[in-house]
Amino acid sequence: MTKKSRLHLPRVPARPGETPDFSYVQLSPAGSVPRPQVNARARDMGALSVELVRVLDDSGDAVGPWNPHLEASDLQVGLRHMLLTRLYDDRMQRMQRAGKISFYIRSLGEEAVGVAQAMALRPSDMLFPAYRQQGAQIVRGISLVDLMSQLLSNTKDMCKGRQLPVMYHSRANNIFSISGNLATQFPQAVGWAMAAAIKGEDNLAATWIGEGSSAEADFHYALLFASVYQAPVILNVVNNQWAISTFQGYAGGEQRAFAARGPGYGMPGIRVDGNDFLAVYAVTQWAAERARTGAGPTLIELVTYRGAAHSTSDDPARYRAKDDAEHWPLGDPIQRLKAHLIKIGEWSEERHQAMSAELEALVASSWKEAIKFGTMTEGPRLNPSTMFEDVFKDMPQNLQRQQALLRKELG
């Protein structure tokens, strides 16, 4: 006799008061995963979606076929960008708590994702980020004053006060406008890449999504279209284990790794240690080469951990074990790259402290500069009548009329 069906509910490893347990995270030893040719057939690369590509081992050495052999100076730049991202996040979190900005989202523990991936791409490649890749914005050279001005909705805000904080964009630096709705950018990036192929250009598109929002249909449209048209696109799933309070098992990560969605659609899927700067850089470089040489799309699952709350609107102590982050088996991306640089004699505690002080000063002076352009409560303010602009290219009559009514209403 068969057993009765029973609704299965994915197991959450540790709720508040329970002991953190990351035994479900499948690890591979650093250096153990082979690096296939970029034009290998997807069906022959299935193991990449099961194993975990790692370069930095526990003693801080870079090992194995995925070692990108970067110059020490590049690694130092990477470390600098990651540290700047973290210090920027820390300060903006405090500014939100102080009531200076309405909302913020940190990328604590995930800095290698935005930073290493943006560094592995060309400036002409188009980025379709989600809301937690501020590291990529920093790598692309968006100034902190510009980023902060967006958070402040001030007179220098690139969004003219229309978007929630962290929804940046930069047309000049090839970063698409971030949406507050999840997953929508994923298939849009594929369309951008299809256009590059139609036009015969060798630029690629890269896009990011959380493992949680990979549940949206948009994720599946993206994989399907990318596979059908072999679009030059890199599809990144940032698996930081948590979607607000919802554990990754509820996004479908319990039975099979997110990377394994790739082979299902006929493209390689790579699971990579998302806290290993070198490994993240290497797989992105590999995927970029695939895209640029006509070998098609790649799905990358970055295995990492959301070290902070989802946003300033939630308290993770209500839904996960308090010391969860400390037990995360893949460590901290900044500490790991720093340890590697020290090990190869290209960095020191003193230099690190000096850089940290320098970057903290940069964040502080940038804030002082940004608030000169106004805050939500003080200083210059955008003219409210600008809210009627850009609904359409040309303002229709009803909006012109409403613009006049608002001026009257405001006296």
């Binding site: 969004c159 929630l164 607000i244």
Partner: protein, 338 residues
């Protein structure tokens, strides 16, 4: 009776229905262990179990579609869409499926699904956490559309919606979750405990769909509204010392035409008000009905108060929001016409 804010009243409604009817299940993003991002389902998973209060993947189309399937198999799902702004991935399932299951199967199948979703601005949510898309749903035949303005009604209307054999989209004006809001963001927040409708029966009771509430009787002008704007209209009329009759529709589909028409025939003047965008807003439908039914009683053109025809801008939330100034301008216009 107990003091409840709107969140507690909604929670109480779901608690009671989970207790009364084993077919009732809740599903949505973050609603189970966490109790929802606005805490509307707090404690319910602990009380009724993970099979009755179900955390879902982030997939609104999947939530609506599986709720339809569950309902066809005898359950009575109450789905939460975390913000009304996130409902669109589920739109096809709502428009093409949920609304028409009964019709297309000649009544052999039906889908008693309730979709709860927070709407409206006033919490600095920007253009993706502030929308009021009710008119998109009132335009679909086969869907009931509800929007309460206070805790007492919220609870009774939600119980009625869950028991209704037709699908209901239940909009919750999130600015009203913690207290009545008269449209002035600079005034200190007022809790529901200061308001008579914050007194809520702890047991089972229903507030019918399709029955408007005359919040304030008056002789000079009828203000037909719903949701947050009920409180704004009350405050604006009081400030202008106008004897306004204020009608809270509570449900937009079905619509209580009788109460609206009787009021306008009595006062001869009318304002319709909602927070949503003006163009093709639900106010247009209200205006048409008043014109059709009350033309010979009208002493002035009907005025419409609404949000502007733009997305909801983060920096200009209060310039966008149809606050007291906009209601007062409409009152002035409608009262001046001799």
């Amino acid at each position: 009776m107990a003091n409840m804010n709107m969140i507690q009243a909604l929670n109480s409604a779901m608690d009671i229905m989970l207790g009364r009817d084993p077919a009732v299940v809740l599903m949505g993003e973050d609603i189970g262990y966490f109790g929802g991002v606005f805490r509307a389902t707090e404690g319910l998973q602990r009380k009724y179990g993970e099979h009755r209060v179900i955390d879902s993947p982030i997939a609104e189309g999947g939530i609506v579609a599986t709720a339809i399937g569950m309902s066809v198999n005898g359950l009575r799902p109450v789905a939460e869409i975390q913000f009304a702004d996130y409902i669109y991935p589920g739109f096809d399932q709502i428009v093409s499926e949920l609304a028409r299951i009964r019709y297309r199967s000649a009544g052999d199948f039906f889908a008693p699904v309730t979709i709860r979703t927070p709407c409206g601005g006033g919490i600095r949510g920007g253009q993706t956490h502030s929308q009021s898309p009710e008119a998109l749903f009132t335009h679909i035949s086969g869907i009931k559309v509800v929007m309460p303005s206070n805790p007492y009604d919220a609870k009774g209307l939600l119980i009625t919606s869950i028991e209704d054999d037709d699908p209901v989209v239940f909009f919750e004006p999130k600015r009203l979750y913690n207290g009545p809001f008269d449209g002035d963001p600079n005034k200190p927040a007022v809790p529901w405990s200061t308001h008579p409708k914050g007194q809520v029966d702890e047991g089972y009771y229903k507030v019918p769909l399709g029955k408007a509430d005359i919040v304030r009787a008056g002789a000079d002008v009828s203000i037909i509204t719903y949701g947050t704007m009920v409180h704004v209209a009350l405050a604006a009329a009081a400030a202008m010392n106008v004897d306004a009759e204020i009608i809270d529709l509570r449900s937009l589909v079905p619509l209580d035409v009788e109460t609206m028409v009787a009021s306008v025939r009595k006062t001869g003047r009318c304002i319709v008000a909602h927070e949503a965008t003006r163009f093709s807003g639900f106010g247009g439908e209200l205006l048409s009905i008043i014109q059709e039914e009350c033309f010979w009683s009208l002493e002035a053109p009907i005025q419409r108060v609404a949000g502007w025809d733009t997305p909801y801008p983060h920096a200009f939330e209060w310039e966008y929001f149809p606050g007291q100034a906009r209601v007062k301008a409409a009152l002035q216009a409608v009262m001046e016409t001799a």
